[in-house]
């Protein structure tokens, strides 16, 4: 464990816990941005520069802003009066704790503890672009189709039903 990794991990975990426990939804969204930035830093430490910058662009730039818009459109800006946890929160917390325990136990007993990284990894934007245009061109087309369908679908779902509201 190196010091930069520990700093990034502590910041990411703290921001994620804050995003899940704070009462005010706007504060939750801001904490979520912190968790996304921490993850981008972890990607940079793992020599995946392009993914790190894509994480900042897509998650911090688009998804977090989308969540803030949804919070403001549903008037969630003010903190609720009563509890913020659902009626069955004990079972949810128990399931999450059991899942983390199982995952940590599996990682501890796996080959991952003594695995050495491959030295000198290079993933330049040029290589990624060439791979996207040759080997992965079909998934690229499919993701473009999916994004178009999601765009149209989101507009149709959120559109006000004019016939009913009149």
């Amino acid at each position: 464990m190196t010091l930069p990794f520990l700093i990034v991990a502590a910041l990411t975990i703290a921001a994620a816990v804050a995003a899940m426990t704070l009462r005010n939804l706007v504060h939750c969204s801001l904490a979520l941005v912190g968790a996304f930035v921490g993850l981008a830093a972890a990607y940079l430490q793992l020599d995946a520069q392009f993914v790190g910058f894509a994480q900042v662009l897509v998650y911090v730039g688009a998804v977090a802003i989308l969540i803030v818009f949804a919070v403001l459109l549903t008037r969630g800006g003010e903190a609720p009066a009563g509890t913020v946890f659902s009626s069955s929160w004990k079972w949810g917390a128990l399931v999450a704790a059991v899942v983390f325990g199982l995952l940590a136990w599996a990682i501890k007993n796996s080959f991952a503890s003594d695995r050495r990284p491959t030295p000198q990894v290079e993933a330049t934007v040029k290589q990624i672009g060439e791979a996207l245009m040759t080997k992965f061109v079909l998934p690229l087309e499919v993701i473009g189709l999916l994004l178009t369908a999601a765009l149209i679908g989101a507009v149709i779902i959120a559109m006000r039903d004019e016939a009913k509201s009149k």
Partner: protein
Amino acid sequence: MTSLAGYLVLSAMLFAIGLAGALTRRNAIIVLIGIELMLNAANLNFIAFWRFSEHPEALTGIMFVIFSIGVAAAEAAVGLALIIAIYRHYKTTNVDEVNSLKG
């Protein structure tokens, strides 16, 4: 450099935090944020396994994460549109009160 297990444990913690948030909070937007955190934890796993793999020049881990980020963006847009539609119908985003399909 940090070992593979360190990144995997960080990812497992993020996944557990996201799962706890998605299962315990009342507001539908926080549930969606928890799902986003779980997706990000899976992405971190892909990158960590790619970095420690035998053939990182194949770029498969990076490609999977790029496509996963694209799918997550589409998921967030549709999910938030659904939440706005539900809010317009029920006037609430509390998942305890949204309990019938035919409102």
